[in-house]
Symmetry: C2
Subunit: 109 residues, 2 copies
């Protein structure tokens, strides 16, 4: 079907999955890496760096914005993007928590 049964899982499970989905594409990783290098950037910068068309880059930016991982401020004719530190704090805490629990696992088959 291609339709995830989100309602059948807990809110937290969906939240973790959605955050993971936001970074589950190399183009979006590349966008984040570019933002780490340059602090802020505009779509035009990314179109030059990424091997994708402008429309596709815009789409990936929208995905990241939808997940809340980046913010965009309109500045004249261009839009200035940057990481949303608050949302990332949530992201990092969520996964650190999962990682800690996994690190404590010892038994295996």
């Amino acid at each position: 079907m291609g339709l995830t049964k989100s309602e059948a899982f807990t809110k937290q499970q969906n939240e973790v999955a959605n955050l993971a989905k936001a970074v589950a594409h190399p183009a979006r990783i590349a966008i984040l890496e570019h933002l780490l290098k340059t602090d802020v950037c505009i779509t035009g910068d990314l179109v030059e760096v990424l091997p994708l068309a402008q429309a596709t880059v815009s789409q990936h930016l929208r995905e990241l914005k939808k997940a809340g991982l980046i913010k965009g401020d309109i500045q004249g004719t261009s839009v200035c993007y940057c990481l949303d530190k608050d949302k990332w704090k949530t992201f990092i805490n969520t996964f650190d928590n999962l990682f800690e629990r996994i690190k404590r696992v010892t038994k295996c088959c």
Copy 2:
């Protein structure tokens, strides 16, 4: 198109994206959480816990196995699944590295 241009991105970017994709579904998060609770489990356990058909659970298990995050050992009629600690070490290191870089970001728009 639905076809990710993987070859246009670096190996590392694809690796991070693929690891993220492996956990980008609430059912797979639920599977991992069940494994954290029980250390080991078989498909039958999961079918009872998850709101999904056996075939679907098996498919999600295969995704996790493909990503290397879990291992499966055949034990008689059933397959015993558990977390692959080594692969998780890689996963955690990869994301900890990203998280550290993000924590250091200060500038924003």
